[in-house]
């Protein structure tokens, strides 16, 4: 079961990279991810939510207790 759990996380990561690359080439009717972020991050609530999650990833993995006891 652990392998399946890992596989789902890896699949999500691969999907994110594929979306980013496909959007960059404007293929499959997708827009560049940067253009999407320009649009949604214009809204303060979205921008601050995304930024605090970004910061927390760094904090969680580099400073705080990463694995709960």
């Amino acid at each position: 079961m652990a392998w399946f759990t890992t596989l789902v996380f890896v699949a999500c990561g691969v999907a994110a990279v594929a979306l980013w690359l496909t959007g960059r080439r404007n293929a499959l009717g997708l827009a560049p991810t940067g253009q999407l972020f320009d649009l949604i991050l214009g809204e303060r609530a979205v921008r601050m939510t995304v930024l605090v999650f970004w910061w927390w990833i760094g904090w969680h993995f580099l400073v705080a207790r990463t694995i709960d006891p």
């Binding site: 009717g29 970004w54 993995f61």
Partner: protein, 202 residues
């Protein structure tokens, strides 16, 4: 419509658009308190309260900031990368760097940056943007729900934890290796710079 009524309508729309994001940040704060991470919980709670206060109009308006020059930003990013990679993980230096980066990102990100030379999306791009947004949202939701499942399994069935590892369980051992930590830090800093440069007001 009178100007006062127009303001009221605009204000209620802002609150309605903000509430789902406040809910996401507040729920995350709650999860952090449950996992006994009070600093993390406090940061998320503060952002949730600030967003709510802003939506109901009790936070003074601040104009967009001028983006820092490319050279100072890159120099700061390089210094942060070196410190976070080469000093001990979970150490004091990493803590100081993360507090500094967090303050800079959250304070600098609050007003947003001035619009650069980027083009507005053309009307024909709207459908493509919508499709892209739906797919990104799907990836984010699946990742978060899968991670939440690991969290719940860990809390309710701790003996099953090894069968349902969280992202933290998978990445933690790798981050103790210098090459992987360097890769992680560079990707994380690059993402932060990219996020801070986006969303300019037009």
């Amino acid at each position: 419509m009178t100007p006062e009524l127009a303001d009221d309508v605009r204000s209620s729309r802002t609150v309605a658009r903000t509430l789902p994001w406040v809910a996401i940040v507040a729920l995350t704060a709650m999860v952090q308190f449950v996992r006994a991470a009070p600093i993390d919980g406090t940061v998320f709670s503060t952002v949730a309260v600030a967003l709510l206060a802003d939506a109901i109009g009790i936070v003074p308006r601040v104009g967009p900031l001028a983006a820092p020059g490319r050279l100072p930003a890159l120099a700061g990013a390089l210094a942060a990368c070196l410190l976070l990679t080469l000093t001990p993980r979970h150490g004091v230096v990493d803590g100081i760097v993360l507090v500094g980066l967090g303050a800079a990102a959250l304070v600098g990100g609050w007003p947003g940056v001035r619009a650069g030379g980027r083009e507005r999306p053309r009307p024909g791009d709207t459908a493509a943007l919508r499709r892209t947004a739906v797919l990104w949202a799907a990836v984010a939701i699946v990742t978060c729900l899968w991670e939440l499942t690991s969290f719940v399994v860990d809390r309710l069935l701790p003996e099953q934890k090894a069968q349902h590892p969280a992202i933290s369980d998978l990445l933690d051992p790798a981050l103790d290796q210098l090459w992987f930590r360097a890769l992680f830090v560079v990707a994380w800093i690059a993402l932060g710079l990219a996020l801070l440069s986006r969303g300019g007001r037009r």
